[in-house]
Each structure stands twice: as C-alpha cells, then as structure tokens.
Amino acid sequence: MQTLVAYVENKPGVLNRVASLARRLAINIDSLTVGPTENEEIARMTIVAHTDEKGAHRLEASLEKLVDVLLAENISERSLLERDLALIKVSADQQSRPHLMELIKVFRARVIDVAPESLILEVSGTVDKIDGLLEVLRPFGVLEMARTGRIAMTRGSDLLRPPGAPSNGSETEPVGKAS
C-alpha cells in the first residue's frame, strides 16, 4: 500500500482526471480523500493505492503531468501520521450499553448520538485502531458505518505545501504546535 499526497486545482472534473489516471495505470485506489486547503482555489488529496513503489512513482509522476495537479508526492517512506475517521451506528439496549461505554472509553471514541436502541460513535485514528474497534463492536450489532478514508501528513519540519505558498510557517499558519 502506498500513500500519496496531491495538491490540485479546486474545480470540477479534477477528481475525475485523478481517478481516471489511476484506472488507466491499473492501480486500485484503496482510499481517496479530498478537501479544501487554506487557499480555496486549491484542494488537497490523500491517495492510498494498492501498488508497489514503482507503481507509486508512475502514479506520482503521471499525476504531476496533469495540468490541474500542482504537486504530487509519494510519502509512503517518510515519517508520517495517518488518520481515518469513522461514524459507527451500533445497537445498544439497556443491558449492553454499560459494556459498550467501557469499550468506547478504551478506544477513545465518542458518543455523538443516543437513541433508545442505538448509539452513534465517532472515532478517529489509524486504520488499525478503527478496525480494532469495529471488531469488538461487531457482537453488539453494527447497524451502519461511514468512514472518511485516510488523510496523511508528514511529521515535523517535513512540509508539503502547495507551490506558491510560503515554504516556512507564516503568521496565518503556526507550525510545530502539538494539538
């Protein structure tokens, strides 16, 4: 599995171009997330693809050939943080609820909706963590789930910013502050 980050023009059709390119290279996309950046004209994508390093190089280099892609970078080998977010609706009656709450605590998930027969949990973290929670929730009855797919960022001073943006921290964007 390879993780790439791309900055792209935030306009119609760009996602199609990126997806179409992966299809043409016969690379299966495991997850692709896209969202705006601090610059509304630029969107950031995190692409997790079923391919090897060679395939990732081709994908990266081919992505950068697209006019609407400002930058594409394979960050798989770099020190990085990956996060996935899931909303999980799980069956919860009076009996199971206390046990569920224990698990939720262990996994640092949050309850964001409570209904007579179910709860909605919000959990973020690595894919493994979410998969782990899912595993233990299954016996209670997972009714519905939505996951965002991974977003990723390189650690520390290893910055990956869109071309044209200041290369170090600016006043509008403090860096290095732990959350």
Binding site: E9, K54, A61, E64, K65, L70, P163, G164
Partner: protein, 570 residues
C-alpha cells in the same frame, strides 16, 4: 472592443500565428465558421473529422508548430478521437476545437451533444469546456502553451454555442494564460550528472538510442556535436529517424522489431546505452528480461514518468534533450573505439549481403525496390508520410532521411489511415517540399475520401500505394505465427488509378521495376497530384523481425534467398 466569442476565437488563433485550420462544420460550431469567413484564416474542408486531426498532426510534425483541427459537437467530435489518440501517443502538438451545445442544454442529451471532454480525457494532454465568451481567448492561449511545451501533446477545447454567440470585450493583452502554479522539481542531482559523465567516458561499447525527443527539443545540432565528440554510434527509433543524418557513418539505422540485425545486436552487446528522448517502447526493446543485459543505461528524457517505466536506468537526466546534451558535451571525452566500431561494421557486413537491394531485376516488383528507387529519385529530400504496416517498415529501412521532420509516421498508436490526411497537413506546413504519401492498399482505403480535399485545395501531393492485395503486416504475422491461415487479410481494392481519375487526380499503375523510377520522376515533374498504384509481390515479408515479446537478438532473419520461391528463376 466588443466581439462575439466566435470572433474572439478567430482573432486569438490569428494572433497565435495560426494560418491553417483543418475542419468540418456543423450546427454547434456554425458561429465560429461564420466568423472564419470574415477572418484571414485558411480553412481546409476535410471529408471526415478523423482526417482533420491527422492533417493537423501532420502539419505539426512537419513544421514543429501547433496544428489546429476543428469540428462540430457530437459525431464531429467523436470522429476526432482516433486522430487525437494518434497525436497523444506520438507527442504531437495538436489543438482541437469542437463546438458544443449551449451551456443550458449541457447534460440533457440534446441533439449532437456528447461529453467529448470526458471521452478524450485519457488521450489528451489536457482538455477543457468553455462556456463563457470571456474565457475563450485565455483558454485558447493556454491550449497552445500546453500543447507545445514540455512533452507536447493534443489539447481539446470544447466551446459551447452560447459562448460562441455571446459578445464581450476582447482584450488580448489581458488574456494571458493563467495555468496553475506547478511545483518546480529539481531535474537531477549533480551526482546523477557526474555518474552519467563517468559512464560515458568509461564505456568501451557505448551506443546512443536516438528518439523523437531530439527533434521536439530542437537538439539536432548539439546532438550531432555530441555524437562526434564522443565518437558514439547511434541507433534510431522509428520516430527519431531524421534527427541525425542517415548518411553519417555513425548512424546505424533503426532499432527494434524491424531494425536491422546489426543494430539490435549492437544494442544487446553494448556496455552503455545513452537513451535520448525515447521511451523504451516494447517495439524497441522486445523482451525486457533479455534486453541489453550487458549495458548500463543513461536516460535523457523530459517526462519524469518515463524514467524506469520499462527499463531500469543507472542515471536519469530529466530535462529538455538540448539543454542536457549542452551540459554534457563539454565533459564528453573523445575515444577511438576501433574495436567496437569495427565489430559493428562486421555485424553489418554479414547482414548486408542478404539485403534485397543487391538482387538483380528478375521481373518481380518488390516494395523495398520501390522505396529505394523513391529515395534515389527524390535524393532523400522528400517529406515522406507513411501509413502503418509493412510499407512503413520498408520506408524506415530503405528511405534514408538526412533531415529532421522529413519522415511523418504514426508510431505509438499505429494508426492505419494516417498517411493521406497527414500528408495534406504536411504539405500546408511545407508547401515548397516534395511530399510523398507511402501507404498500403489497406490503410489507403480507410481515409481515401481525402483525395477530394487535395483536389478542392488544389495542392500537389504524390501518392505511392504499395499494393500487395493483403493487409500485409497482419498477413506476415499469420504466415509466421498462424501457419499461413490468412483469415481476413486478403483484400479487394478498387482500381486505384481509375479511382484517382474519378477524383480528378492522375493515376498510374506500375507492375515492373523498370517503370518505377520513370514514373516517380514524371510524378515529381507534374504540377498536379499523382497517384501511383505499385502492384508489388503479394506475400513478401519485412525482415528482420523480432517476434513480439521475443529477445531482441533472436530475429527472424532474411532467408538466404530473401524472396522465397518467387525470387527464383521460373
């Protein structure tokens, strides 16, 4: 100054230096045609939109500039697809302008509405829909910039009818391209460069693989200096032919599937390959596991995605071929290479005795003779535009090009039907040149409707049909690999000379070798277009041949009696 979108388009094209547009009108592009009529642009009416794209492509390849094709929405646009893909695979700068239904109808399945940007996404370098007159000038400028920069390629601009009809202020100066800011990558580290220099100067058996990129970057002069400074033998890709004179003793000729044996053996025995502006296509390498096992590789290439794609290289110098060669040249040391060059000469001597050219006239007409006679009679100075198949390979083997952009051929996509329309484009790009179409009887029948375009435009093109009554290359594969089961390759054709006459073009039919040169000469001397139907041997094959996926050094060689039974005395 207020202009309609259609007028802005014509103004913009004029300001970009466009003089010729190859196109076909229709409902959704009519406002542009109305404006074209009032402009100084010369519109060439084609007979099929595929022809328009090939013409624009031929124009681009012969001139080095951008070719422009135009069509209406729907079927007009979809007919362009093959031509666009042809340009894409051969990195040819073509701008296609298509009409589109009005923006309020988009997505409604309106009459002649088709999502042409969706269809052409994987076969264009870029494409875009324009639905506001205000955006036309900037978008067209961007299209030209994208098409002819870096690794060139086709760009399609789809303009809605309401954008063509709407009026707005036209301000050329303000309509500068606004392309997204791309990350500037470091092309290569000094260490890569030093490694390349070291490999170059220490190689005992170096060989250059010269590709189309040399022509695209205009590196011919520095390439010539580079070759002679290092005393480096050169093998050509099909599309590289012309970037370095065939007459130069260091030019070995074409490599690959139908490359001469000495060229492919030299590749397999080399200890260093210097690939310049080429992409290790499978028709060039054969089986990758056995390809140039002895050789280190330097890859000079502008497209980063080509590096290590097919062949793993030891030093990648990413960048414009001319710039990279200019940087390498001062560091390159001259070597005598007597053993290596002598060895290649020996390989060549071995193959040359089996060459069909050396055979006496035995009453049979062979395609190779026709091509060779054409080369001699035109003194190698014609622009030859070929189709795809056996005749294409014979052209590459027997017509020796000394000038860049004098061979126009569809390499990557291998598009039959390319030659005739591409030659029309080439003629408009180089009106003073002697333009020859070399085409098979199969490919010619795919786009022969463009004969009418030649007549309507009153241009002078010579057409040599290498007519063997078969889809020859496919027949050859059937002969070699399918036990001569000739399924769907025998081909009935009209009387091409009579057909030419029906179009108003002089037609000739040649069946003997003695008539070849006089007829070519007479065609050259004629002020009008001439079509010559050369009736050649039906079951002749192109040698040598590396079977698809086979090792480059394991070729099917010319038979000792190269012309099989037909060549022997009756």
């Amino acid at each position: 100054m207020k202009l309609t979108g259609a007028e802005i388009l014509c103004e913009s094209l004029t300001k970009l230096g466009v003089r010729h547009i190859f196109g076909y009108p229709g409902g959704a592009i009519l406002p542009v045609y109305d404006a074209l009529g009032k402009s100084k642009l010369h519109h060439i009416l084609v007979r099929h939109e595929q022809g328009a794209t090939h013409m624009a492509d031929g124009y681009a390849r012969a001139s080095g500039g951008v070719g422009v094709a135009m069509a209406t929405s729907g079927p007009g646009a979809t007919n362009m697809v093959t031509g666009i893909a042809t340009a894409m695979l051969d990195s040819s700068p073509v701008v296609c302008i298509t009409g589109q239904v009005s923006s309020k109808l988009l997505g409604s399945d309106a009459f002649q509405e088709i999502d042409i940007t969706g269809i052409t996404m994987p076969i264009t370098k870029h494409n875009v829909v324009v639905s506001r007159a205000e955006d036309i000038a900037r978008t067209v400028r961007e299209a030209f910039l994208i098409a002819n920069s870096g690794r060139p390629g086709p760009v399609l601009v789809d303009i809605t009818k309401d954008a063509q009809q709407a009026s707005c202020d036209f301000n050329w100066e303000a309509s500068t391209p606004k392309l997204p800011p791309k990350r500037q990558r470091i092309n290569y580290e000094p260490a890569d460069f030093e490694r390349a220099v070291e490999l170059l100067n220490n190689a005992k058996r170096p060989l250059i693989l010269a590709g189309h990129g040399i022509m695209v970057s205009g590196a011919m002069r520095v390439f010539d200096q580079f070759v002679h400074a290092g005393n480096l033998p050169v093998a050509m890709t099909l599309l590289g032919i012309g970037c370095f004179p065939a007459s130069d003793p260091l030019n070995l000729g074409m490599m690959g599937m139908h490359g001469e044996a000495w060229v492919n053996h030299a590749i397999q025995e080399a200890d260093l390959l210097i690939a310049v502006g080429m992409r290790f296509d499978d028709r060039v390498t054969g089986d990758l596991r056995t390809y140039a096992k002895e050789a280190r590789k330097i890859h000079i290439e502008i497209d980063r995605s080509e590096i290590n794609k097919n062949v793993k290289v030891d030093a990648a110098l990413i960048g414009d071929a001319r710039e990279v060669l200019e940087q390498l040249l001062p560091r390159l040391e001259h070597r005598e290479r007597g053993d290596w060059l002598g060895h290649i000469r020996e390989l060549k001597g071995d193959s040359a005795v089996k060459d069909i050219q050396g055979l006496p006239d035995n009453g049979h007409l062979y395609a190779a003779h026709v091509i060779n006679d054409l080369w001699k009679e035109t003194r190698g100075e014609a622009i030859v535009v070929t189709d795809v198949g056996q005749h294409q390979m014979w052209e590459a083997q027997y017509y020796h090009h000394n000038q860049p952009r004098t061979l126009v051929t569809s390499g990557g996509l291998g598009t039959m039907g390319f030659a005739l329309p591409a030659a029309i484009g080439a003629k408009f790009a180089k009106p003073e040149s002697d333009v020859w179409v070399v085409v098979g009887d199969g490919g010619f029948q795919m786009t022969m409707c463009e004969l009418a375009t030649i007549v309507q435009e009153k241009i002078k093109i010579n057409i040599a049909i290498i007519n063997n009554g078969f889809l020859g290359m496919v027949r050859q594969w059937q002969e070699f690999f399918y036990d001569k089961r000739y399924v769907a390759t025998p081909l009935v054709a009209p009387d091409f000379a009579a057909l030419a006459n029906a179009f108003g073009i002089r037609g000739e039919r040649i069946t003997s070798r003695a008539d070849v040169t006089p007829t070519i000469r007479s065609a050259r001397e004629s002020s009008e277009s001439v079509l010559i139907d050369f009736r050649v041997e039906q079951e002749d094959s192109v040698y040598p041949m590396v079977p698809a996926g086979g090792a480059l050094h394991e070729m099917i060689r010319r038979p000792d009696s190269p012309l099989v039974e037909t060549a022997t005395e009756p």
